[in-house]
Amino acid sequence: MSANGYGVDTQPRGEDEVVVNLLDVDDVTVRFGGIVALDGLSFSIEEGHICGLIGPNGAGKTTMFNVVSRIYQPTLGSVRFRGQELLRTPAHGIARLGIARTFQNLALFPTMSLLDNVMVGAHSQGKVGFPRAIFRVGAAKENRETRDFAGDLLQQLGLGPLAFRPAMGLPFGTLKRLEIARALAAKPTFLLMDEPASGLTHGEVDELGDTIQQIRDQFGLTVLLVEHHMSMVMSISDRVVAMEFGRKIADGTPAEVQQNEAVITAYLGTS
């Protein structure tokens, strides 16, 4: 990996234009007992891109997300966000840096309404702590603002009519969409989405592709997208990283990755 002396990895582009990477994953290794879930994984994401992360089941994609979320501690390696070492930030500090995510198997707050779920998503934006809540200093105002903000987000994702329903018991596809709304509530600059299309019908998957591109443009996001729906990943990604057994096997434009021998082998299962 190319360190330029400022701890910021850069990629040359064009003549003398230098693009700072948003995320640099450098030689990350994660072990669970005997299983090596990530094995010296390295890749970078450029600001403003939609980066697809593909790989067969068990390749380590979700593990990668959990490393960025600081849920799993890697045994080796470093993860830098805008040049800053993420592995020194506690899990609750990640959202404040502008990193939000969705979960593959849903990690919502089931007893809370959809609105409250999204309001918790805005937690890192809020200021009212224990003393201010007890003595009600600015708590009502913050509630009103957060509530309106969350309500608007729900509207925008087509969940407005369900705002006051508890999350428990709603269809999987709806809840997947709620996860996106909740992640956007953190006003992130970097959004990690773990299989957002699972549980959707074919038509809905295409819609979702458009949605992702739209929110990227509207909120100025960089997106890391894990998805098994190849047509969607390949059509909306600016770059694709393919992995297998915790290692990167290919990296490039969608067209390049689709043609890559290793990727074809991994997906066809021949070896």
Binding site: S69, I71, P90, A91, H92, I94, A95, R101, F103, A107, L108, F109, P110, T111, M112, L115, D116, M119, V120, H123, S124, G126, K127, V128, G129, F130, A133, I134, F135, R136, A139, E142, N143, T146, D148, G151, D152, L154, Q156, L157, G158, L159, P161, L162, A163, R165, L170, P171, G173, T174, R177, R182, L200, G203, E204, E207, L208, D210, Q214, Q218
Partner: protein, 404 residues
């Protein structure tokens, strides 16, 4: 689900209901000290103490999902703080409240650190140990210079006149009575020997303070993060909730608040010892749990209703030790066992509620009241009209989730 009427949150009908409910609560609170005797007032104080304890436990268990079978120790911290400061150092009982809060808060925070690493059954066991150890520690011979050992501490005689606490005796000639057409809304404070009404108002004050703190917390960003921890810790952390700090603070606040009803008990009982005050043994901790669950965990009014019902039932069935005292139909079911009948009634109520309404009596209300009147929440969002929906199709997907 059909409902007979639909009203708007914050609309006139909603306000009318709120005002009516407030008036009823005020009337009840005023009725007890002015229109009933000392016995009822004493029972009401017990209910208020239980309310306070169950409300503070609710903050920790009902909202944040961290179980504690050790809250009797925090109540005990309050009782002993008042007992020690009043009887040994001659403090006015007033000043012991904040001290008890701070000490118990500190103990709660200390307990929270191991507690934030352990969950479920293990947390229950650790807090249970706290409840079991507390009476042992305070009756320990080597600590009797402070706690009075097994015989406990007197607080009654020590309530010397100049603390302003010996209301009957001290206030003659000093206190202005607040009367409206000959009716004294504070109750019978005038009688030199009737301190019950005075203690009652202190207990009411404590419950109001606890309620306001709980309400402020619950209806804020902090309250949402507490419920988020209860529902899904990992997701809460990803949203930016500091798990360790939040749990420590909730533990501290919950413990600190729980000490306040302890102070009231010390004042009311006139002595502090594990024998004299059952609430500071593990039995108390279990009672707080039952009261909270029966009333409705995770709701502001649950512990209040639970405590009122619990004390009411205990009071009615208190005399059922002999068969003759038991009303006819109920006679076969009670009287034959040595345990108080209210224990049996609450045990059965608890089992039934767990099946039909795991959210307690308040849960029953929440489930069935919309059949009569449904309250439409205020719309959330800055725009009345739906903005350009990014995803139009999803509106069709979730229609299957709507069975209005």
């Amino acid at each position: 689900m059909k409902s007979l009427a639909t009203i708007r949150e914050g609309g006139a009908a909603n306000w009318a209901f709120r005002i009516a409910a407030t008036v009823v609560v005020f009337a009840l609170v005023l009725y007890v000290p002015t229109k009933t005797g000392a016995g009822t007032i004493q029972t009401a104080i017990e209910a208020l103490v239980l309310m306070g304890a169950a409300m503070s436990l609710n903050l920790l268990l009902g909202y944040t999902g961290q179980i504690s079978i050790g809250h009797s120790a925090f109540l005990g911290m309050g009782a002993y703080t008042t007992g020690i400061l009043v009887s040994r150092y001659g403090w006015s009982p007033w000043y012991t409240f904040p001290v008890a809060f701070v000490l118990s808060f500190a103990l709660g925070v200390i307990v929270s650190f191991p507690a934030s690493r352990i969950k479920g059954v293990y947390l229950a066991l650790v807090t249970l140990a706290l409840a079991l150890v507390f009476p042992q520690v305070v009756t320990w011979k080597k600590l009797s210079w402070l706690t009075g050992g097994g015989s406990g501490l007197p607080t009654k005689d020590a309530q010397v006149a100049d603390t302003g606490f010996n209301i009957g005796a001290a206030s003659r000639g000093q206190m202005q009575y607040f009367e409206i057409f000959g009716w004294n809304p504070l109750g019978d404070l005038r009688k030199p020997d009737n301190k019950a009404a005075f203690w009652y108002w202190i207990a009411v004050g404590v419950v109001v303070i606890i309620y306001l703190v709980c309400r402020g917390l619950v209806k804020s960003r902090v309250g949402r993060s507490m419920v988020a921890i209860r529902d899904n810790e990992t997701a809460a952390a990803v949203m930016g909730v500091n798990l360790v700090a939040t749990k420590a603070f909730v533990f501290g606040i919950s413990a600190g608040l729980c000490a306040l009803p302890g102070c009231v008990t010390a004042i009311k009982t006139g002595g502090v010892s594990p024998e004299g005050i059952q609430s500071l043994t593990v039995r108390g901790a279990i009672t707080f749990l039952i009261v909270m669950v029966v009333g409705g965990a995770g709701s502001l009014w649950g512990p209040i209703i639970g405590a009122a019902v619990y004390v009411y039932v205990t009071d009615i069935t208190g005399g059922w030790a002999s068969d003759e005292a038991i009303p006819g139909v109920l006679r076969p079911f009670f009287g034959w066992a040595k345990i108080p009948p209210s224990d049996g009634i609450f045990a059965v109520l608890l089992i039934v509620l767990m099946f039909v309404a795991p959210r307690g009596l308040v849960g029953v209300w929440r489930q069935y009241s919309p059949r009569i009147v449904r309250v439409l929440p205020r719309p959330a969002g800055t725009t009345g009209a739906a903005p350009v929906a990014i995803a139009a199709t999803i509106t069709n997907t979730h229609s299957e989730g709507e069975h209005e």
